[in-house]
Amino acid sequence: MELYGATGKILRINLTNGDVAVEKQNPLFYRVYMGGRNIALYYLINEVSSKVDPFDNENKIIFATSVITGTLIPGSSRFTVAAKSPLTNGYGEAEAGGWWGPELKFAGYDAVIVEGKSVNPVYIWICNDKVEIRDAAYLWGKETGEVYKAIKEELGDSKTRIVQIGPAGEKLVRFANISNELIHFAGRTGLGAVMGSKKLRALAVRGTGEVVVKNKIKIQEYAHWFAKNRLLSPCIKPLSKLGTSRYVSALSKMGILPTKNFYQGTFKGAEKISGEYLAESILKKTEGCYACPVRCKRVVEVDKPELVIESQYGGPEYESVASLGSNCGIDDIEVVCKANELCARYGMDTISTGVTISFAMECYEKGIISKEQLSGLELKFGNSDAFLKIILMIANREGIGNILAEGSYRAAKQFGSSAEKYAMTVKKQELPLHEGRGKWGVALGYAVSPTGADHLQAAHDPWFEQQGDSSKEIDFIDITDMNLFGIIEPIAATSLSPEKVRLFIHLQYLWSLHNVLDLCILVSVPESRMIKLEDLVKLVGDVTGWKTSIWDLVKAGERGITMARAFNTLSGFTSNDDILPERLHEPLPDGPLKGTYIDKKSLTDAISLYYEMMGWDIKGIPNKGKLIELGIGWINKLLSKYR
């Protein structure tokens, strides 16, 4: 079997003893695991024992690409970062677009495994066959923008691509992120703190090779077709024009824009923080990722005596706008963008930062924490001044920031039992900015996601609702490609029926596949309808030369979900961890969905049915037969004592 798409090489770097090794993987390995989360999980399950603390020497951090990364397929720019998470203590994973993943492939590697710990700060320099561990003592403590510039100057190659942590990662803030090229983030599950614990500030990569594909002409033709036709898509056009904040005002009108720590779903200031408003005010330009013509990234700039926002840090995504805006009661787009810029400078996940601050705001307003504890800050919802100050206190672990840097779940434990109900977390990770009470499939995804609360487990419920002419319902399902899974009837967003669970697992397989192939969901089905599922089968075949199918690809997605579940089982997670914050079981107080809540019994029933459909036992542990069916029967020997 010949190998196309992948390089066949995995780079292993040990920071304790400085060893560097290149390990070869055979074509069959790629045929089974394909890339991204599956490659990362293969190594983590085999090599990181269940007893390891995320900050231990024995934790490993893995940067993985897929067989399609670095080809001309639009959206193939992404890479996966994975380790045991310091936020959840389970499987930690985050993806980012940008330029670093393709560059790693050009340098000749599919993945980098970093193990051990350095005594002194270091960064890793990968230039084709040359791999060095270099001194980073002079970079330690500096903001990401300074480090980006300094490493490029030191290496003398402007085309070098850099992933790095910021000062927050160095200080082990449990939701520290990893950035590449300053504006693309592997944000979630606190993986920046794992790099910080290893005294690893950055990985700089430069590659001059190319990704060898089986049928270059077919891939080129598809890329040309995509570039030419993208604006005909009703989903891509607003994405290019407004970025991912295209929905802010719509969400508020629907009553599902998380506002004031998820208390309510409508926000009076929604228009003022919307993608439209941003485009008309402080937007300087748009940015994009490798091989993608969509350019959904925003770049903002403000240069006022009282407020400066540097454009090198880009601009906010939807998640950041809602977490640092409506969810904290902030309706000033410049303040939201400044908060986003501070998170980029210091290296913190904007979702967890905003939702941890909204938690602290609610605790303050409810009298659970005092002004004295907050070093005199009046941390009310909407107080911009206190809001920007607390971000810096968290990043620097100053005052109460030292407690909030542990994330809202752990902070609530310190503030006392009355605070716990205001911590909007699942598996200790803060909720993303999607109101589960209006999208029950998303809420189910929050509960069962292996990485803690996550909004990218499945396409969101509204796509599958009956909204149009009821005589055209079949057409409606067709456009989401779900008919290919035998799902031919619309399902209400506020339903946890068995049919919804069935829809959810098929969507979850498909979404997981995107983290296996490291393909951006924003250009793919059903989020944008540009890369259709049949197209994807052809594209993967044209890159790899494999005879593949929808079934085969979707099974790779399922493999990833089940491997992640196995890792969590080994880390001590049980079905008791598949729960939602109490607030989602309370009625929404306003908007068109006023009074709607998620019934606990309905959720528990849906989760039990989900386990059954996934081939997991009543405790949520993957069954022996399911693992064999997925081609990962080797995990059975590890799981047997937990069953």
Binding site: Y247, E276, L456, H460, D469, K472, E527, P592
Partner: protein
Amino acid sequence: MKIRIKTIGYLKDYFTNNIREGEIEIKPGTTVNDILKKLGVEEHLSSFIVLINNKIANLDTPIEKEAEIVLVPKVGGG
């Protein structure tokens, strides 16, 4: 009778006459779909959600009395 119609966010781009907010005269029993056809919006029928008087409705819901119709883009994730 008169009804108010309003579009949210980027949906205005899909209205041929670029209407974002206004009033139109209709007969009782007219559906939202009929109104949209009149406004030249036949494409992308699945791309938005219809609210009639702040309640979620369908395109084929008949309108019997004065109402506010709001068209909201369908909200995905990410």
